[in-house]
Symmetry: C2
Subunit: 377 residues, 2 copies
């Protein structure tokens, strides 16, 4: 969506070059929506989705906790006003010296997915709480996850048992159902695995306390997605089914769901051409592409809605590409994007749902183009 | 290759975190190698491959010209000591106001691939020389190009005819055979197309002067590649065959071929794990990945040679992944990478052939990780 505040900003400020505008009112509404939909869960905002200080400060003031991927993100969350007990070091891949830094900063909650990582934490952050990430299949996600994070549930039992042996607090289990997950049953399958880990360890006297349900809450691109309420109900049902009357503490880690629809990218049409006279597909080149903000169009995974000055007019198929000399800097080619035939060089386009995973993905200076500028309003 | 100067740098400076080291002696040798192999061609270094000021200054001092993708790159080339007549604005996608800036800076050579771009140049850089990029099929390239740049040869004739009509100098034809092109016949096919454009326009009294043969000169990764000399001979043969005794002025635009083998990335093993007890593939997580330097491992297109402290020992299959919480940040998964079984967390690895398309591709701060640091020695 383009909010009235965004429209006013673009009209009055008229920033030069491509830019992202994030409306904090939408972020606030999203936070309150999650709180309402999942009142029993603690919200850990996934800082990597958009670490703009204004976003972090707003969420910190609303009471959000923070899921961080690095020491730099921990420092940003602290800077924004979060106390260390509201910060999780959620990356399963950590240098031991970074764990030590996080420990020194007061962070006491860490993600792991193998015995090796548990050993680092035992050395660098003695006594910390750890949760083990379990592999899920990611079925139904628009951006399915690879097997990069997590281990099979049987191994999670070993990992958490080992943590206890080394003096850590075996705190819980996490999973991530895949980004843009629209299948509500995905949480059910993962919660079933989590409950099994809880039961196995309970039989040994290790009582886990928390289930971290990760992110995956979608933002609205071209298709309608279930509402936060629908997610909340489906998840609460699944929790009751698998944990009975011993429902654990729960955590969610929305990133895209918190800021995705709060951002709009303004871009300019740089060139429109055809490759041959008889080509029925136009090539539309923008001043933004895969390397300065739209990295998530990789494999055409995410199809952003685009607003043009000619909406409503007749459309024709377009290949959309970025401004660099890199032939991989093409956004939509396999499935061309319908855009108005009246589109002109110099037209301003608005790319919606771009508040997450855009600005920080941008390259430092590829082809000499500066990274995407952000304006938080 | 890791040169002695690189080894000395790593040992004495011991920089913290992942970094790229580029040895200028190798860049110099590459430049002289191109000069010797293709004495008749002017060398336009593709600045985007590595725009480090030290690299640009060295090449400027050796007499190189520069192929630039943006006004920022034009300014960098000028800053490094190149005169405007040694600079080509080689991006076919340019805002009209950027063409005007380039014109104001004295640049007079522009790439085009459609009538629309010719019209912008006629308005913003009257009298400039233009060359039209022709589509090639890129067969034989490790990183085949999409159809993003260029038009079919028949359309190139129209484009250059139109340029003349608008008072521009129709200067020549360009093509790009694809990056890491190892099939020497690729140049032959493209030169045949170029010669046809020359002939058609000559019949109308438009005498083109230049063929820009682009880049595509490979750097050595895991497989041996033909030498610059072999390229030079094959290209000279093809030129003679297609242009007879009217061989045009020629330009080459090496980027990867100039700096690729001059760079080595030093990285650290952050974690080694398995996803299940019976997994025979190890996951090896480095402190560098797709989003802070190794973007060209996308689709596992480029397989860099990796030097470990245990080379020569028994090896086993590994999935190689980066340090971010992004599940797409995996370098080699479809075809696992064999690494020593003795590999340990904390080991330093050297990733060879990384002088091109690494540092500037790095994201500004994804997951809070800083962009790849470069040291030019």
């Amino acid at each position: 969506m383009i909010t009235q505040r965004m429209r006013d900003f673009f009209e009055t400020r008229r920033p030069e070059g491509p830019c992202l505008v994030v409306d904090l009112d939408v972020v606030r509404a999203n936070y309150l929506g999650f709180e309402k939909a999942l009142p029993q869960a603690r919200i850990f905002y996934a800082v990597k989705a958009n670490p703009a200080p204004e976003v972090l400060r707003l969420l910190a003031s609303l009471g959000s906790c923070f899921d961080t991927a690095s020491v730099a993100e921990i420092e940003m969350a602290l800077e924004a006003g979060a106390t260390p007990n509201r910060i999780s070091y959620g990356n399963t891949i950590k240098k031991e010296r970074d764990i030590a830094r996080a420990h020194a900063l007061g962070v006491s909650l860490y993600a792991v997915d193998c015995v090796e990582e548990v050993e680092k934490i035992a050395r660098a952050a003695p006594g910390a709480r750890v949760f083990c990430r379990v592999l899920t299949d990611g079925e139904g996600a628009e951006w399915p996850l690879s097997r990069k994070f997590g281990c099979v549930p049987e191994m999670a039992v070993d990992v958490l048992r080992h943590a206890r042996t080394l003096g850590l607090e075996s705190y819980g289990v996490s999973f991530h159902v895949g980004s843009q997950q629209t299948d509500l049953n995905a949480w059910d399958r993962a919660l079933s695995d989590a409950a099994n880990v809880f039961k196995t360890l309970a039989n040994e006297g290790i009582l886990l306390k928390m289930v971290n349900m990760g992110g995956g809450f979608p933002t609205r691109y071209l298709n309608d997605v279930p509402t936060a309420q629908a997610y909340g109900m489906a998840i609460f049902d699944a929790l009751s089914r698998h944990f009975g009357n011993r429902i654990p503490e729960t955590i969610i880690e929305p990133g895209r769901g918190m800021v995705g629809n709060a951002g709009v990218i303004r871009t300019e049409v740089v060139l429109i051409s055809r490759k041959a006279d008889n080509d029925n597909v136009r090539w539309v080149y923008l001043d933004i592409g895969k390397f300065n903000g739209l990295a998530e169009t990789m494999d055409e995974a995410i199809r952003y809605p685009i607003v043009t000055p000619h909406d409503g007019d007749a459309v024709g198929p377009c290949v959309l590409a970025g401004p660099t000399c890199d032939s991989a800097d093409v956004m939509y080619e396999k499935t061309p994007y319908p855009l108005p035939v009246a589109l002109n060089v110099g037209d301003e386009l608005f790319i919606l749902g771009t508040g997450a995973y855009t600005a920080t993905y941008a390259s430092v200076a590829f082809n000499g183009f500066e990274p995407l500028r952000s304006y938080i309003i």
